[in-house]
């Protein structure tokens, strides 16, 4: 039941609209589906811009004696929801010609879940959207049709269901502990005084890609289709970042967790030779920056985490659209089979270079004006070691998304350029050059260009982004010392990258991660346990069977046709036995 239908007439939650449209999108004809994919996110973007904030703009629902707050937008939530809608729009355009309709439908539901979380106001509604996200994103992975999509999707689902169980248990604990405000289980900052706090934190951290479950991002995302990975990179981890900002700001445990994630992403991306997996590890690396900032917990650090999440969504979309275009054109994502593509894909190369510059924080790109808030605050809050390690991680981004990814994909000149996909299949070369070996065309080109343009726009006009958080004029990233410092961090890293090219050539093989524990160690332990159990059970069954056989033999021996109790006895023997029994009786009676 809607509390005040008249007042809330214009406040239909965008998340629910997207979930509803995702459910019908699958069944619609192609033209109508394309129209919805192109237009609906833009309409919702307008709705979001016009939507107010605070208590006067809430939409509540009573359900099972609980007040569910479907809509209670905050400035941070609105900013996240805005960039999620842009990600859905751009990802949808990129996917329009190549993706299966099931993937588009799942993407709409997935985005609906994320946006629902950003705009909701209580933990129960959040959990509902959380699980919608987990299921929809699994369908996107399953739609990937890559070699290991099915099994990777199942592993992804198991990890996220486990995280969901932790979250639900924590929320149940929150409800039982009596911390229920007047408006229900309000989604707000939690105090670290009970078990449910840690359970909720653990559930959220699973989605953020925190240790020991950081592996699921690089395990599952590259198994999605080229467009599917664009959707996946935008929503799950950033939604977790938003929840951490809202509920766990200032939790010091997040600082070492974030630093671990930042270094984990660097080391694994450095050793990886699949370009889409390099970008997946880079996601963990950058989310590590955000988690560390949330752990620091000051206003500047939280603004840094929020704006860096926005910047990261934008530039990672550009990079993944670039990698996806290469995969569609050549059929390869292994760096050993790529290189020299800048001639045949100049537009993609240009956009990817903008995205790569943004990922490194080159001045006048998005990351320069967002990551600097985190580093500046770490320095000013006297977290010298945190500042030092994050500065080092900023330099090391050159070795994953910054220079290594574009170099391996578009520039490495010591290997021949890959053949276009259809040329390999023996089709007309001229047609291939027009259709598959070149840049993406049409909607796909608009999508990658729009995302790259936004990376530059945020870099050139950072106050536009800061203003969304009410912080316009508070930060001034463009000072000469800051620009020089940033270049001093990046240039030695670039120099070392080219000096160590031979060291980090693409290699075949996979890298062991903590998933080894689940996929190999625990699996082998289970095999051993089931083997032992099976053997013990067989021994037990054999024992039972043998006991029955022995009992039967005993009975048969005595009562069988030749048994002692079944024999026909001579009359003399019977008379003798009767006499003996009678004599015994007489003796016993006389003794008594």
């Amino acid at each position: 039941m809607i509390a005040d239908p008249v007042a809330t007439l214009g406040l239909v939650p965008p998340g629910l609209i997207l979930i509803g449209s995702g459910l019908v999108l699958f069944f619609l004809p192609s033209r109508v589906r394309s129209l919805i994919v192109v237009v609906l996110p833009l309409l919702l973007l307008v709705q979001l811009v016009l939507m107010g904030q605070g208590e006067h703009n809430t939409l509540t629902l009573s359900w099972l004696n609980q007040t569910l707050t479907l809509l209670r937008p905050s400035a941070t939530g609105k900013l996240f929801a805005t960039v999620f809608l842009f990600a859905l729009w751009a990802g949808g355009l990129f996917a329009l010609k190549t993706a299966h309709r099931g993937e588009l439908a799942a993407a709409f539901i997935y985005a609906g879940g994320s946006i629902g979380i950003c705009l909701c106001g209580d933990w129960i509604t959040l959990f509902g959207f959380w699980e919608v996200m987990a299921l929809a994103s699994t369908f996107i992975i399953w739609n990937g049709q890559q070699g290991d999509s099915r099994r990777a999707g199942m592993r992804y689902l198991l990890v996220h269901l486990a995280g969901g169980v932790l979250l639900l248990t924590g929320i149940a604990g929150l409800a039982i502990s009596g911390e229920i405000a007047e408006g229900g289980l309000t989604f707000a900052h939690l105090t670290p005084d009970s078990l449910h706090y840690w359970l909720i934190l653990a559930g959220i951290l699973v989605n953020a890609g925190a240790p020991p479950l950081s592996f699921w991002i690089a395990d599952a995302y590259p198994q999605a289709s080229p467009s599917g990975m664009v959707f996946l990179s935008a929503f799950t981890t950033k939604t977790a970042v938003f929840v951490l900002i809202t509920a766990f700001a200032g939790e010091v445990l997040l600082i070492p967790i974030g630093l671990y994630m930042a270094f984990y992403g660097i080391v694994y991306a450095l050793l990886e030779s699949d370009v889409r997996r390099i970008l997946a590890y880079s996601i963990v690396n950058q989310v590590g920056f955000m988690v560390t900032a949330i752990g620091i917990g000051t206003t500047t650090a939280l603004h840094g985490a929020t704006t860096h999440a926005v910047a990261h969504i934008l530039y990672k979309m550009v990079l993944l659209m670039g990698a996806g275009s290469v995969l569609l054109a050549t059929g390869h994502s292994q760096a050993a089979k790529l290189g020299r593509l800048w001639r045949s894909m100049p537009w993609t190369t240009g956009c990817v270079l903008i995205g790569a510059a943004a990922s490194m924080g080159v001045p006048w790109t998005s990351s320069f004006v967002t990551k600097s808030l985190i580093l500046q605050d770490a320095a000013e809050s006297h977290n010298t070691m945190v500042w030092l390690l994050l500065t080092l991680c900023s330099a090391a981004v050159v070795f994953n998304a910054g220079i290594r990814f574009p170099w391996l994909t578009f520039f490495q000149l010591d290997r021949p350029a890959p053949q276009p996909l259809e040329a390999e299949q023996g089709q007309n070369q001229e047609q291939d050059n027009k259709q598959t070996s070149g840049d993406p065309r049409g909607w796909s080109r608009i999508a990658i260009t729009a995302a790259a343009a936004l990376c530059l726009l945020v870099g050139w006009f950072p106050q536009l982004l800061y203003a969304q958080l009410g912080a316009a004029g508070l930060y001034h990233p463009y000072t000469w010392p800051h620009i020089i410092e940033q270049l001093q961090i990046l240039l030695p890293a670039m120099l070392l990258f080219f000096l160590s090219l031979r060291w980090f050539q693409p290699q075949r093989g996979l890298l062991l991660d903590t998933d080894w524990l689940f996929r190999s160690a625990l699996y082998n332990l289970w095999l051993w346990f089931s083997h032992v159990l099976k053997n013990r059970f067989q021994v037990f069954i054999r024992f039972l069977f043998n006991s029955q056989i022995r009992s039967f033999n005993f009975l048969f021996r005595h009562y069988g046709p030749r048994g002692i109790l079944a024999r026909s006895w001579p009359t003399g023997s019977i008379a003798l036995w009767v006499a003996i029994i009678l004599a015994s009786y007489v003796v016993l009676y006389s003794v008594q």
Binding site: W387, T391, A395, D414, Q488, L496, F498, L510, L511, L512
Partner: protein
């Protein structure tokens, strides 16, 4: 120089980039003389160098990370069919 061979073109291209970047690093080091950098290390240790501190952090830090990463790669790399056994 015959640049039609991929490896020669590659090496020439990479060498030029290295010279360019090395020159850029020197230029940035020189700029520190005009704009002395400010880093939190100067608060925690008065003996921390000022000129070129960011170049030092980036360079030395990466020189530690890169060999360690390579060592980890050597330890952790397995065949692609490792989990298919």
């Amino acid at each position: 120089m015959n640049v039609s061979h991929p490896n020669k073109a590659h090496n020439s291209y990479v060498k030029r980039l290295i010279y360019l970047l090395a020159g850029g690093c020197l230029l940035l080091l020189g700029m520190d003389l005009f704009h002395p950098p400010h880093s939190p290390l100067q608060h925690s240790s008065p003996h921390a160098p000022v000129t070129g501190i960011y170049l030092l952090i980036s360079g030395v830090g990466l020189l530690i990370i890169l060999p360690l990463s390579r060592l980890l790669g050597w330890l952790l790399r397995r065949r692609e069919e490792f989990y298919d056994r």
